[in-house]
């Protein structure tokens, strides 16, 4: 009985923690993305920009997994603030990425925010 109570308590805490997470994810597979409703208003424009531009070459699933796990899903490399900046520079320099420095900067700031939120 005591075990059951402990299990129920733990399960409740886990559910509560997930429910309390400020950054939620919607969809699965190729349709996976951060839930726009969980993005603060001041980041909404950056989020729209990211969702529109980044999917030119890869799905948002890659970005979501990288933020959630702290690792880039393809390379297995750490996905932290330093990596976010490096990826931003890489995308800036990538031919036909069609992103300028200002746009890259906004996306980098947004990803840093998402990383911080995920670490909570």
């Amino acid at each position: 009985m005591r075990k059951l109570i402990i299990l129920v308590t733990l399960f409740t805490l886990v559910i509560a923690a997930v429910a309390d997470a400020r950054i939620r994810v919607k969809g699965r597979g190729d349709r996976m993305n951060f839930d726009p409703d969980s993005i603060p208003a001041n980041y909404r424009a950056s989020f729209d920009l990211m969702s529109r531009k980044c999917v030119k070459c890869h799905t948002m699933e890659r970005t979501v997994i990288a933020v959630q796990t702290g690792r880039a899903p393809i390379t297995g490399q750490p996905f932290d603030r330093q990596a976010v900046k490096a990826y931003g520079i890489k995308m800036l320099r990538k031919p036909n990425s069609n992103m300028n420095k200002q746009e890259i900067r906004e996306v980098v700031i947004l990803l840093n925010y998402l990383l911080d939120e995920n670490a909570r």
């Binding site: 070459c57 520079i89 420095k101 980098v108």
Partner: protein, 505 residues
């Protein structure tokens, strides 16, 4: 002397170029399979490399950062050894498996030094030596045996249709090639690469009148070498086997065109078959120094020849990602600058060698030798969607026609190529090249526009045209067997168009 022999010579040459489209490769789906990455990670349009592909190549086929990562990898907190206390006894019985020891062994397998401080969970997970790119754990047995998890083999096929204005058969739909490629690394300590030409279109048998398809031109190992990576924990890699010596900035196939090699790398002089892109049996040492400086030097051993040949290469990269694929420092808070997007790579090289009749077998006396050298410089400029490549080489052969007489003919050669490239779309790139070739036999100028399209990342359709103006030197008609360049020249124009499909799997 009329134009006919020179014309025939040019036709044969152009046919051979079309038939021997079996340049070595460095772009193989085996890497894509092993690392679970797209072709576009390392290529613009296959097989042309982007700067990350260059970094992968220079890192001996080890995925970016993995070597550094392994070097920085921290040992996970030691796991308590398996112990068991038998019932009723006090004797401690150790289990056969020692997780701590195995962890060290696996760490050592990837060159991870022992460290006392435990790593944070995230970092430890990311730097675990038995974690493959993609974050998946490699099977322990395969890891310890250093065997690649996937068979690192792939194929490249090319099918071309060629239109030659001067040929009897103007439109040729039968130029095909099939290559087998293999490459990879063994626990990041050693690497290997091989290219085997399984099929290339043979020449037509003039004696047959049947409708039989052309025979195989012959199978051949184009490249087969092994690399001892970071020997003795230094940045130096030792490469041995059959390989293209590291001379120019780009390997023979690292270009948009599928049929037209860069003249500075592909030209020959006199009867000598030497060309810079020719695979050689060699031992090479190379290293990336200070992330942006690349040096290579090697010794070539020619069959049946005591004299060894030597070569060297240096190159430096300004701007862009460095040779270890680290991104440049760009301040995102500042206004855009030209230097945010500009990458300039400069390289220089030299090669000294001898060829001719063998000098080691008995009965061959005296050996007829041709001593030659090549000295060249390359420049690669990348700015946003533009790329400019400049290559130049000068050479000297002291007996280019392997003359038996006491007065060998010395030939100097001057060859250059300039190619501009523009990326219209990620999968559509155009290039325009001009080549100037004075090889002592004549003066050749080529204009080569190329348009490459990749409907899929592993499928390339290339449309090429070569406008070639050949000013052949006339040779004396005094009955002498020695060909001597003359000042009198005549022009021949070749027009060759090619539509080719290349695919890898």
């Amino acid at each position: 002397m009329t134009r006919k022999p020179a014309l025939i010579l040019c036709l044969i040459g152009s046919c051979l170029v079309q038939l021997i489209v079996v340049a070595s490769s460095h772009a193989i789906p085996a890497f894509s399979r092993a690392y679970k990455v797209e072709c576009s990670t390392c290529h613009t349009i296959y097989p042309e490399l982007n700067e990350y592909g260059e970094a992968f190549l220079k890192n001996s086929y080890v995925y970016f950062g993995k070597g550094q990562k392994a070097a920085k990898a921290k040992e996970a907190p030691p796991t308590p050894k398996a112990t068991a206390k038998p019932a009723g006894g006090t004797m401690e019985v150790k289990g056969e498996g020692d997780a701590d020891k195995l962890s060290k062994l696996k760490g050592g397998a990837l060159g991870a030094p022992e460290a006392s401080a435990p790593a944070p969970a995230q970092e430890a997970a990311a730097t675990a030596p038995d974690t493959a790119p993609g974050g998946e754990a490699k099977p322990e047995g395969l890891l310890l045996a250093a065997i690649p998890e996937l068979l690192p083999i792939s194929f490249t096929a090319s099918i071309h249709a060629t239109y030659d204005h001067n040929a009897v058969n103007e439109l040729d739909l039968s130029t095909r090639a099939l290559k087998l490629n293999a490459g990879g690394n063994f626990r990041e300590k050693a690497a290997f690469f091989a290219t085997y030409v399984a099929y290339s279109e043979g020449l037509r048998d003039n004696n047959t009148t049947t409708s039989a398809p052309l025979r195989n031109n012959g199978t051949d190992i184009n490249e087969l070498f092994v690399i001892w990576r970071h020997a003795f924990d230094t940045p130096i890699n030792f490469k041995v086997g059959r390989m293209q010596p590291k001379l120019g900035l780009w390997k023979s196939n690292n270009k948009l065109s599928t049929t037209n090699s860069f003249a500075p790398y592909a030209y020959t002089v006199g009867v000598s078959e030497f060309k810079l892109e020719q695979p050689q049996d060699a031992l090479e040492a190379n290293a990336v120094l200070a992330n942006r400086f690349f040096v290579a030097a090697g010794v070539v051993n020619r069959k049946d020849q005591n004299t060894k040949e030597g070569y060297g290469h240096i190159s430096y990269k300004f701007g862009g990602a460095d040779y270890l694929a680290n991104e440049p420092e760009v301040d995102l808070a500042k206004e855009e600058s030209i230097f945010d997007f500009l990458t300039v790579t400069v390289g220089a090289y030299g090669y000294y060698g001898k060829n001719g009749t063998p000098n080691t077998p008995t009965g061959v006396s005296p050996p007829i030798q041709n001593s030659y050298y090549r000295a060249g410089a390359d420049l690669d400029i990348l700015y946003k969607l533009f790329r400019l490549r400049v290559a130049g080489v000068l050479g000297k052969d002291d007996n280019a026609y392997l003359n038996l007489s006491s007065t060998p003919i010395e030939l100097k050669s001057y060859v250059a190529a300039v190619e501009g490239e523009y990326t219209f779309l990620q999968n559509l790139i155009g290039a325009l090249r001009f080549e100037y070739q004075d090889d002592g036999r004549g003066l050749v100028r080529r204009f080569i526009p190329t348009l490459a399209y990749a409907p899929l990342q592993n499928v390339k359709i290339a449309l090429e045209y070569k406008h070639e103006i050949v000013t052949s030197y006339r040779f004396p008609s005094n009955g002498s067997s020695i060909k001597r360049p003359d000042d009198t020249a005549q022009d021949i124009t070749n027009k060759i168009g090619t539509l080719g499909v290349t695919f890898s799997f």
